[in-house]
């Protein structure tokens, strides 16, 4: 059975087609879901893609978190379904409190669009289960608000429960503890600022993103 990955389109999303292409490349089947839908159909995994959902009004992810589909996404996540938020999708997951912490403006106030070298810190997430701790991946970032912030208490919990999934080798945005991606305690909900879908074909300069997305496809 081909793994079916639902990619949610919010008004202002702009990476959804790239995610569908990348999912197809790694052997899954991507399909678009509209943010006003209230059910996810028969998808095996959900991706909230990058972009500027609802224009980033109020705060990044603040409006998208209340889009009608998010009720179904929350139930799917709580039932153990794989949910991945990429960039703006990560911001939405923190606003929805499916992941802890928040994403704030980059240190230095620059919009960053560049390759980043990431280190795999945990194999306990749906994206990294096929990789090894210490693996380095080259994947682009493309964000203004990727500076991960959380309380000391949350940071300790993330460390204790193995929820830090990816870190930056050279922290580009001021993120706490160099964090580029985290997961929930059970590892089925993952948020990351880098764009794996933009590193899923040799023509894009790296295929390391495909290694992450394969985790979503391989299933249990």
């Amino acid at each position: 059975m081909t793994t079916k990955v639902g990619v949610v389109v919010f008004p202002g999303s702009n990476c959804e087609q790239d995610v569908v292409e990348a999912v197809d490349t790694v052997g899954g089947s991507g399909e678009l879901l509209w943010h006003k839908d209230t059910c996810l159909g028969d998808v095996d995994a959900v991706v909230l893609p990058g972009g500027f959902a609802h224009g980033d009004y109020l705060r990044t992810g603040a409006m998208a978190r209340f889009s009608p589909i998010m009720g179904a996404v929350e139930r799917f996540a709580r039932d153990g379904g794989p949910v991945v938020g990429i960039c703006n999708g990560f911001q939405i997951l923190t606003e929805a409190q499916l992941l802890p912490g928040a994403l704030y403006k980059n240190r230095g106030l620059k919009f960053l669009c560049q390759p980043a070298v990431l280190r795999v810190e945990s194999m306990g997430s749906v994206l990294t289960r096929g990789l090894s701790i210490g693996d380095e991946l080259k994947i682009p970032i493309n964000h203004f608000e990727g500076n991960f912030i959380c309380s000391q208490q949350v940071l300790e919990q993330l460390r204790d429960k193995n929820q830090i999934v990816l870190t930056y080798r050279d922290n580009p945005n001021g993120a706490t503890a160099d964090i580029a991606g985290i997961c929930n305690e059970s590892g089925n909900v993952v948020g990351l600022m880098p764009h794996p879908e933009r590193a899923a074909h040799p023509l894009l300069g790296s295929t390391d993103g495909a290694l992450l997305l394969k985790g979503l496809i391989s299933g249990d």
Binding site: L58, A62, G108, L109, I149, G174
Partner: protein, 86 residues
């Protein structure tokens, strides 16, 4: 019988959270001849009108809006001001 209240919500970054925007503005001020400015913090301000039976109920409603939507408690604090609308 409900009363209209003018509401002002000031959203600011929590103490201890670096404010790159405030810092950039602070650094720009001396170049414009304004010296001696420190502690610049950038926030946002929301204004709206709420109908409620009394001020307590209005405040409770606004606090709930802030908790769930208008601010993110992980990084932001809010200051709520209420007054009967004229």
């Amino acid at each position: 019988m409900s009363t209209a209240f003018d509401v002002a919500v000031e959203v600011s970054l929590r103490d201890g959270i670096a404010d790159p925007e405030g810092l950039t503005i602070e650094r720009a001020l001396p170049a414009l001849g304004f010296s001696g400015v420190s502690g610049v913090r950038v926030g946002k301000s929301l204004r709206f009108v709420v109908e409620a039976s009394d001020e307590d109920e209005a405040r409770t409603q606004v606090e709930a809006m802030c908790e769930r939507f208008l601010a993110n408690p992980v990084i932001e604090d809010v200051d709520i001001s209420l007054s009967p609308a004229l």
